[in-house]
Symmetry: C2
Subunit: 343 residues, 2 copies
């Protein structure tokens, strides 16, 4: 067994509760000397408070759970977001416990993640973009477990990006650069609200500028499915064919996500189209990135804010669980880089 408070108290010749108070920063009622003795004893013995005992007594776990899918399409785990969440929790002397659900568990109405089955966190962050099982959210409400949703467009207890704004922002940026022949490219895929919203943001900006929106959807194989059959991917040829057929009518392309943007960049190079001098490319994304030796012009999400806001909201929710908190909608910013060029 590890060093306990009792041993520290004995060593410092004081009662256990006194040692507890002192080590928790409430020692100002004790003498300078006693404080010193206790601190010293704790240090020499290598005392580490047992968080389980503390939680058992105080009724607070000082822990937050993060629930997500193991399917990248349902719950993309942004490392930056995760870091921001952890940093913010760390400030509050709380920790993060992770839990993921497999697709099978996800659809099984009887399955409950450990974090819901057992009492172990003060609140939950739920990073499910869509398809969050209703029986689970019902259960969470029923438990009155404080929870904040991330990336889900709900009216309350939720933090999510303004995807319409992001879509419009990217288009406006291309328009400001003087582009008129701007196409919008997306691959077939899941139906998260970001998909329609970004496209509508683009459409809105084009109409505002008196231009006709040009939108194309191409078939793809989801990049994470490459495991299944690496040889069968023909995404590139779809993009290349489209680009070849339309190159005269295009000076710029806005893509739904980095996935389309990367393929497009590669296809353009294959077609001998130089980016950015002959073709500008901009995408909506989470963070700025440089996948191919060229920095992508992109809208980026304030992921750090997002994590902080989510944690702040959760803290409020934990303090007053019954009160619903108005959803926070976050705006992206446009980060110009090396794939766009004025016309």
């Amino acid at each position: 067994m590890a060093v306990t408070l009792k041993e520290v108290a004995q060593q410092a010749q004081i009662s256990v509760p006194a040692a507890s108070l002192i080590l928790n920063g409430k020692g100002d009622i004790y003498s300078k000397d006693t404080n010193e003795r206790v601190q010293q004893a704790a240090r020499t013995l290598g005392y580490r408070p047992n968080l389980a005992a503390r939680a058992a007594r105080s009724g607070k776990f000082n822990a937050v759970g993060l629930l997500m899918s193991d399917h990248p399409a349902y719950s993309r785990l942004s490392v930056k977001l995760l870091q921001s969440v952890m940093a913010k929790l760390s400030d509050k002397e709380m920790h993060l416990t992770m839990s993921q659900m497999t697709d099978a568990q996800f659809t099984d109405s009887k399955f409950l993640p450990r974090m819901l089955r057992q009492h172990m966190v003060d609140g939950m962050l739920i990073n499910y973009t869509h398809h969050f099982p209703e029986h689970l959210s019902d259960f969470i409400h029923q438990l009155k477990l404080p929870a904040i949703w991330i990336n889900a467009r709900l009216d309350h207890d939720s933090v999510y990006p303004d995807e319409f704004h992001a879509g419009r922002l990217a288009a406006q940026y291309l328009l400001e650069l003087g582009h008129r022949k701007i196409h919008y490219l997306e691959f077939e895929g899941s139906v998260h609200y970001s998909r329609t919203d970004r496209r509508e943001g683009y459409t809105h900006a084009m109409m505002e500028a008196g231009l006709t929106p040009m939108h194309v959807t191409l078939p793809t194989q989801f990049p994470d499915q490459v495991d299944l059959d690496p040889m069968s991917c023909d995404t590139l040829s779809h993009v290349t064919n489209w680009l070849k057929a339309n190159r005269d009518q295009i000076t710029a392309v806005q893509t739904h996500s980095p996935w389309e943007a990367r393929v497009l960049l590669y296809a353009a190079a294959k077609c001998g189209l130089d980016v950015p001098s002959e073709l500008s490319v901009v995408t909506n994304g989470n963070e700025s990135f440089n996948f191919m030796g060229i920095a992508m012009s992109s809208t980026v999400l304030p992921l750090t804010d997002m994590g902080q806001v989510a944690v702040e909201m959760l803290m409020k929710k934990i303090a007053t669980p019954q009160k619903r908190i108005r959803a926070k909608v976050l705006e992206s910013t446009m980060v110009p880089a090396q794939t766009t060029h004025a016309i």
Copy 2:
């Protein structure tokens, strides 16, 4: 307060310890009827065991900590690895608590992560590729806290990939395809053992085949530093220039990592060199991937095994903390895809 065992026991008209035993699967000494009553009561009341109380009493947290850097170069967080770790822990009814250190904390010899300062986990997984501060590992040993290192090449208590083998494997694959003019490309960067080992694996395979290893190191800007100045990246031009100058002497390139491979693919397209018909590209990596609409031929790590092995080792370590466990070295496999072609 949530539903407690006491309430369940009252409802089922039995003592608290009896209810505890029954709900923990040790109810075979009780009558069928009693078992049923307790289970029923727990269900209708929505009982969730308080893990803090259980841990306080049993002395086991049933929790594992994951310590990493927030710097992607020191501790790349593979989502697949993380998932495998979580899944394995989930099987054992344990959970994962995350902790990251910032670079500043990392270099501050006085800083201790919460997980070490406080007693809250039964063991730790440490995902630091290099530069793990000595005062921290000393501290961990001193605490006798069971710990397993991931990605660190230590003799004991460690799981890491055989990078030499991976480097050799990729080269051998190209050789089998009939390539002779095989160059090895890497960008300047940190000095993890994977860097030299992979290169030496390549070198070894080339020498075995009676060929001269051709190795080039090009300058780069770390892809994660794009935030700092997105416009200043000239990685692509370095690769393009190198490729142009050497295209006649190259039929295949092996790259240190996907980062080089992506840039190379893009550079080749820019030069009008078709992959794979005119240039084969293979890389060492963690997982197979398709970043640009073309599936990359790559060595891949058994990340799922890696997570499982790490957890298994940690469980052993927790059971017998004093015993050192021989390090487990994992071999990659070669996954051919769309970027390689027989000559």
